[in-house]
């Protein structure tokens, strides 16, 4: 309480100072660590290029507290001029009431067009025909591998990259060889077997590889395929039963990998960690063991939190800042994320980045959660279904039973009303 009063007081004081000379953009983001310093560097570059615009950025704690704060600020009409969200969360964030739509004409004025994006990614930000989320990047789940260990195991090709894997048998063959070259006391692969978020992300990836679907277009029926789901759950479980993933080491994949475990499945945000540790490693999208390529992808995107009087110079400056950051995201790529602005990806500078150049193709093979109000990074869907995936992977539930429970949970969620507007996914405009 006291904190928010203080914050409000600070804000208005600074407002009065800034409004005399320059346009001021208040920008809330959730980037800490390496992402945080990359973002600040990009903002500083913007400030240098546009001295007429003052950027007041605030970094808030990642995760649900951020979304709560953003929602309450928007509801109380004290929202910042620009914010950041995971794109999967946008549908549940009452577009139109808590979020304002982007003016694509203004974005084009500052050099950013729909054609600069992967069309599917752009569509993920569109609700009811309007753009509510402007993607900055996609961040994907990757298969990290130690080149030094795999070389010993004879699993590196002539290009010094891991041999291609295109089936479940291939994959377990690779693990078998890799284990022989692994130091004692280390697991062969870390895949966060006890973590409901990671296990859910991996499930989404492989389920998508199998061509599985979630709901029908009208969002009235669950089309979840329990046979396919069982196949995926059995695949994940086998890493444990065959002894490649040590159940005790579920939470310390990164330490094990740095110490010499040959594989770790992690988000691309681990790139700066492993590069910082000076490892000889590579990273590919999760292997296409079920034939088609697909790996889980979420996306950081810019949003315009709802302001009843949005418009004018401040709003235009928010558009300008967002367009600038999206189109100048070379630095962002160093954090492991794949920049959403396609022209960045074909620059020689980006193509020289390793291991980014090894997984940039993931942009075209994204496995996403369904576009419903309860989905998105650490959202209700992951919270309800993730633990079921974990229960199968760690062995406390049989894969087919777990698949049945997942389907039941999906039906429950589909019948649930979005607390923001009192509508189910079928009734809601947010289903798009």
């Amino acid at each position: 309480m006291a904190g928010s009063f203080g914050f409000a007081a600070l804000g208005s004081g600074a407002d009065a100072l800034a409004s005399t000379a320059r346009t001021r953009v208040r920008y809330w983001n959730l980037f800490s660590g390496g992402d945080g310093s990359n973002m600040i560097a990009m903002l500083d570059a913007f400030r240098k290029a546009h001295p007429d615009i003052a950027v007041k950025d605030s970094t808030l704690q990642w995760g649900n507290p951020f979304y709560t704060k953003l929602a309450m600020a928007a509801a109380g009409n004290r929202a910042p001029d620009l914010g950041v969200m995971h794109i999967g969360r946008v549908a549940g964030f009452a577009p139109g009431r808590l979020l304002d739509a982007w003016d694509t004409g203004l974005l084009a004025k500052y050099g950013l067009r729909e054609s600069d994006y992967n069309p599917k990614l752009w569509q993920r930000g569109v609700v009811d025909g309007k753009l509510y989320a402007l993607p900055l990047d996609v961040h994907v789940q990757l298969c990290f591998y130690r080149k030094d260990v795999l070389r010993k195991a004879g699993l590196l090709g002539a290009d010094d990259r891991i041999v291609p894997v295109t089936s479940v048998d291939d994959w377990f063959g690779v693990l078998k060889e890799a284990r022989k070259a692994t130091k004692k006391g280390l697991q062969t692969i870390g895949l966060w077997i006890n973590d409901q978020n990671f296990q859910w992300w991996f499930f989404v990836a492989f389920y998508t590889q199998l061509g599985g679907t979630w709901f029908d277009d009208a969002k009235t029926e669950v089309t979840f395929d329990t046979d396919k789901a069982t196949q995926v759950l059995e695949f994940l479980r086998r890493h444990v039963t065959d002894g490649y993933a040590n159940p005790a080491m579920g939470s310390v994949n990164a330490e094990q990998f740095i110490n010499g475990a040959p594989f770790a499945w992690e988000g691309n945000w681990s790139v700066p960690v492993y590069s910082g540790a000076k490892l000889e490693y590579g990273a590919i999208p999760l292997p296409p063991v079920f034939g088609t390529r697909a790996t889980h992808a979420e996306s950081h995107s810019f949003v315009l939190p709802h302001q009843s009087d949005r418009g004018g110079a401040t709003d235009e400056a928010a558009h300008q800042l967002a367009a600038y950051v999206v189109t100048h995201a070379q630095q962002w790529a160093a954090g492991g994320h794949i920049p959403a602005y396609l022209p960045t990806l074909s620059t020689p500078a980006y193509q020289k980045l390793s291991p980014q150049n090894e997984y940039v193709s993931a942009m075209n093979h994204q496995a996403n959660e369904p576009k419903v109000w309860f989905a998105g990074s650490t959202g209700i869907l992951a919270q309800r279904v993730g633990p079921i995936v974990v229960s199968s992977t760690v062995g406390s539930a049989k894969p087919d039973a777990a698949a049945g429970r997942m389907k039941k949970e999906l039906a429950t969620l589909l019948a649930m009303k979005n607390p923001m507007d009192g509508k189910t996914a079928a009734q809601g405009g947010t289903a798009a």
């Binding site: 005790a248 080491m249 310390v252 094990q256 760690v394 607390p419």
Partner: protein, 312 residues
């Protein structure tokens, strides 16, 4: 006593009583102003939120506060059928069942130790009480490191690679162990104070009568500590049912392996601030309030019976 005094006594008593009433009334008037600031804050931050919570629990309010509809008892009806709520309640109750007996016995033993040890008394007291001074986040993080399966001290000392924080059969146990270490100091202090207030002449008399150390413990120390034990148990039950901070810190703000450490408070928070269902979250917190109040009343009732029996 003389006759005159006997006659005068009732009259004197009457004036004394009257002036006492007067004093009390004046005292209330003055005291009323002294407690007014407290009452105002109490009303603003306890009474009003409580009433508001009851009202919200009858609506489908979301976090934005806009467009809430009155829906009667629907939230309560849903809650009673909500398996996640019952799971969370079960986790909090399980935690309480483990923590309360352990902490009571441990606090007593540590107090006995600190009370009877002759040398370096201050050091023992400091050691046993110091963890209680740590913020919950510090204590939680510390034990997260200690429980680390690969590099943590617990597995290093005891061998093996027990997945303390990532297996549902150990996760709650790990939180219980952390809680014991972290909070036993408070109950320890209560016991130590009670031990020091037992009159020494009781022990001396018992010794003269030939009672050995065991007899003195069973027939003097334990009975004299009965009241403080009641207090320790009561406070621990109430605190343990509301377990939240150390659990979420040790589980990285998640619900633990296979949601096995999601406590009632955590579930309420998730419903309100992750699912944005403030109305529903209010309803389940009211349910929790009723449960805790019932537990507290039941304990008082049980204890009252026992004191009556003792005096009879």
């Amino acid at each position: 006593m003389t006759t005159a005094e006997t006659v005068l006594a009732p009259a004197r008593a009457r004036t004394a009583a009257a002036s006492a009433t007067l004093r009390r009334r004046q005292g209330f008037q003055h005291g009323g102003w002294f407690v007014a600031p407290f009452l105002a804050l109490f009303a603003l931050f306890v009474v009003w939120p409580l009433l508001r919570g009851v009202y919200l629990s009858l609506t489908d309010a979301n976090i934005t506060g806009a467009g809430a509809n009155f829906i009667g008892l629907d939230n309560y009806r849903e809650a009673l059928k909500d398996p996640l709520m019952w799971d969370a309640l079960g986790h909090s109750a399980y935690f309480t069942l483990l923590v309360v007996p352990c902490i009571t016995v441990l606090a007593f033993l540590l107090a006995m130790l600190a009370h009877h040890i002759e040398r370096g008394k201050w050091l023992w007291r400091l050691c046993f009480f110091a963890p209680f001074l740590l913020p919950s986040t510090v204590a939680g993080n510390l034990w997260q490191w200690l429980f680390n399966p690969g590099t943590g001290m617990i597995n290093y000392v005891f061998g093996g690679d027990t997945p303390w924080l990532t297996d549902k059969s150990y996760a709650m146990l790990a939180i219980v162990i952390e809680t014991l270490w972290w909070t036993v100091g408070f109950s320890f202090l209560l016991y130590l104070a009670a031990l020091q207030s037992i009159p020494a002449h009781l022990y001396e008399a018992a010794k003269l009568d030939g009672a050995n150390a065991w007899h003195r413990m069973v027939h003097i120390t334990l009975p004299m500590l009965r009241n403080i034990t009641g207090l320790v148990i009561a406070l621990q039950i109430l605190a343990s049912l509301q377990v939240f901070d150390q659990a979420v810190v040790m589980m990285d703000f998640g619900p633990g392996p296979e949601s096995s450490t999601r406590t009632f408070v955590q579930y309420t928070l998730e419903e309100g601030f992750t699912s944005y269902r403030v109305g529903y979250a209010s309803a389940i917190s009211i349910i929790f309030f009723v449960i805790i109040a019932a537990v507290a009343l039941a304990r008082m009732w049980l204890l009252r019976n026992r004191t009556e029996e003792a005096t009879r």
